[in-house]
Symmetry: C2
Subunit: 152 residues, 2 copies
DNA sequence: GGTGAAAACTCGCACTT
DNA sequence: AAGTGCGAGTTTTCACC
């Protein structure tokens, strides 16, 4: 889908606050309510807008402990990779998992209550997945920046 | 704020789709529309719900190239840390930045168009920040999992 | 892309448990 | 303290210009 400058501005606005009314958006974009409405529908249908979500404060739900783990598999056979990715995706503590270049194969982000919960997760969930060679954990001391908004 | 099981279910629903109507939520939670409405307002006012955003597909806006960079500062004096954090936060390509334990000081996630855009970012933006000692880039081969929803 | 109108939703109010 | 039902005012949605 080709995006013009109005679409880009609209995407920026919705990435910041998706609950603002079409009317509020129409004023910011100098368009009619319907024009904005139809642009949004088009962005949704074409898949540019993936979903609308509420972001919650981790601290408010007792999940303040964030850890990044590097993971190396023992081997990179197709079956091992597929199985690891399937198992790790199932884990609710894992917010994200990326297959990356470099010394390790994967980088995952884990969100839990505290160090004890992380130990539980590491011992009982993560390392019980087959074919994991080694892991290396990096504890988050401070979240300096976090955004879901991509610049368009 | 203390969350009961209905609040938790509500948070889970809103983390998945914040645009569903209060009526749809009330049916899923077996409550009246007003009861749901008031629970949501309470979650918003108490700060449990931080914001409502649209998540967009990076590929659709030509930002498919994701890189994680480890960063080490030359020194950890208060001023250096403050300045680095301030500067890195300003960079639009930086989606997240975490102060972490381990061999490196920071882990940042960068989202750009392609390798060339990343080179530009690295040379002209990131490494032009003062006091950076060394960086180590890990290119994302595949995003295995990504979610903004914390399990409550 | 704009207009207008019906359908659906939001949200304050009065009342109940 | 928390839930229900009502209803005026908005907002969404869509056929038509």
């Amino acid at each position: 889908m080709i995006l013009d400058s109005v679409d880009k501005k609209l995407i920026a606005l919705l990435q910041d606050d998706c609950k603002q009314t079409t009317k509020a958006l129409s004023l910011k974009l100098n368009l009619s309510v319907t024009a904005v409405y139809e642009r949004i529908k088009k962005l949704e249908k074409s898949g540019v807008i993936d979903k609308y979500v509420a972001l919650i404060k981790k601290e408010a739900v007792n999940k303040s402990f964030v850890v990044f783990c590097h993971i190396k598999l023992v081997q990179h056979t197709h079956d091992y990779v597929v199985q690891f990715e399937k198992e790790v995706t199932k884990l609710e503590e894992v917010m994200s998992c990326y297959h990356i270049s470099g010394d390790y194969d994967y980088l995952i982000q884990v969100v839990v209550k505290d160090m004890e919960a992380f130990r539980e997760f590491l011992v009982n969930k993560l390392t019980s997945i087959n074919h994991i060679g080694s892991t290396h954990s990096m504890f988050v001391i401070n979240e300096v920046k976090y955004t879901t908004a991509v610049t368009v």
